[in-house]
Symmetry: none
Subunit: 304 residues, 2 copies
């Protein structure tokens, strides 16, 4: 396969409608040798695009900076409208350890990229999640509160001084959050009812912030096209809060309302390991380890 | 990765307790350049070891023959006792197409290896599964019926004349089945009871031969070391009879006896796809395809 050291980068930019701009940004990422652009998810309602790319650390940072440069050039937040909250042209830039790389390595990459985004493009940077310099900056939603329009005031408050840059919002590109985090699985459970209240109650029961599972964020939503509701989740550490346990807890809570789980969906990508662990959980494998997987064994044998 | 053409070979030998013998046989396989020994599973209750190795066709056959030679030398079936039925020192030798190789290629390898096992080591050979020369020899269990002890009589019957060799059982190494087949998952479900009858009834309910699932072979066994019983299965086509459905059917049948499933185990290796499909089955993923798996996406991106 490829080199053992892999970092994932999942920048969110504030453009989800102009296909030429999205294509240009994708091309800037692809142009960096060693970087693989795996996924592009544009949402016109959110007016936002999520790029997913992987590679060794250096080219991944290089691709992130080329994207930042282009996003600052192409996107004018003064004219941006969309359902998703946002504060920057390049709104958020997380680095994620995938293989042979530690969280500490990714924190270093975030600091390095953040410093350059200020120095080269004049966009103030906040470090968030594992790269945060203060507890209240761990949560991206806390940083983003007020959005682009509110930052002209917020940035002047001492507690919201940027980690890199002067306390002056870039006039068209706003500010940017750069961080390091675990792989995030976007996972939805669909319920056989049209009652939004049920989804909201279950979301509240399972999410960490209100007493549920530590690494689950959850919202109750209506799926209007289908006449059902959904528990929409982010699993922020699938090793400590595995997808199977989350699913079973949602199922159990739904039973209290006499509501069935009618299906689930993964949005974007999921690491192989998360699904292999789910299989082991449900099958009840006593001897599970990745070593029982043929493809893993062969790759190991060839490398050694 | 490695060479385009890959054959898997999964010999079963009738020795699962003597570590020196097992180590010597492993070494004989490893000594062949181009061959990767991926797995060794010894079961003292079964008194049996399963080796799994892969490589291009020629070195794989060479490794199989070196193993055959050593098994004949080291193992004396007159003194062999174990839970698993067996008829030879090298009991069974299947060749499995993995990549860039057809089932027809593997049938040729089986014939080639089988001929040499007779000529060089004096062990009569039966061709089985896709390499079988008669319909009643497709099923390994049919061939093995009577086991080592019964073969001294069975081999003299005209319909059980070996495919290679005279109708004379090797006095200590018995006979050997050599074949070609699809990837086989050896999968056991452990039951929370010591009643062998329960395992046997469930095995009968789930196996294809008696009306159960088409690509399941199953036996009820005692696990004496643990005081429990086991449904020991071979899943001979996991795409058509998936591991999750097998597990749930066993669980359901066990409920009829008020017996819990206390665990499961995979013996040897399992293709990644079989576990990913199991995860999708249990989670109820509406949009599952291998494309949602990060590592698959990456491999595709690298290849293209």
């Amino acid at each position: 396969m490829t080199s053992r050291k892999l970092v994932e980068c999942v920048p969110n930019v504030s453009a989800g409608r102009d296909e030429d701009k999205i294509a240009a940004m994708a091309e800037a990422i692809r142009a960096v040798p060693g970087v693989y652009l795996l996924d592009i998810q544009s949402d016109p309602d959110h007016n936002r695009t999520v790029f997913t790319f992987v590679g060794p650390a250096e080219p991944v940072v290089e691709a992130a900076l080329r994207l930042a440069e282009l996003a600052v050039k192409l996107i004018d937040l003064r004219a941006h409208r969309g359902e998703h909250p946002r504060m920057g042209a390049l709104d958020v830039l997380p680095f994620v350890p995938v293989r042979g790389v530690t969280m500490g390595d990714c924190v270093m990459l975030a600091r390095n990229a953040g410093a350059q985004i200020w120095e080269r493009f004049g966009v103030p940077v906040y470090l968030y999640a594992e790269a945060a310099t203060r507890p209240e900056r761990q949560d991206l939603a806390e940083i983003r509160k007020g959005e682009f329009e509110g930052f002209f005031e917020k940035i002047r408050r001492r507690e919201w001084a940027p980690d890199f840059g002067d306390p002056v919002v870039h006039p068209t590109a706003g500010v940017c959050a750069v961080g390091a985090r675990e792989f995030l699985i976007a996972y939805n459970v669909n319920l056989g009812t049209s009652e939004l209240r049920v989804a909201k109650e279950i979301a509240k029961a399972v999410r960490g912030s209100s007493g549920g599972l530590r690494y689950v964020k959850a919202l109750g939503l209506e799926l209007q096209g289908r006449g059902i509701v959904q528990v929409s989740m982010n699993l922020t550490d699938f090793r400590k809060t595995p997808i199977a346990r989350v699913t079973e807890l949602v199922r159990r809570e739904a039973q209290r309302f006499g509501v069935p789980v009618v299906g689930t969906e993964i949005v974007g990508l999921v690491p192989e390991e998360a699904l292999l662990e789910a299989a082991a959980y449900y099958l009840g494998l006593e001897n599970y380890s990745p070593d029982i997987v043929l493809e893993r064994k062969l790759a190991q044998a060839i490398e050694s």
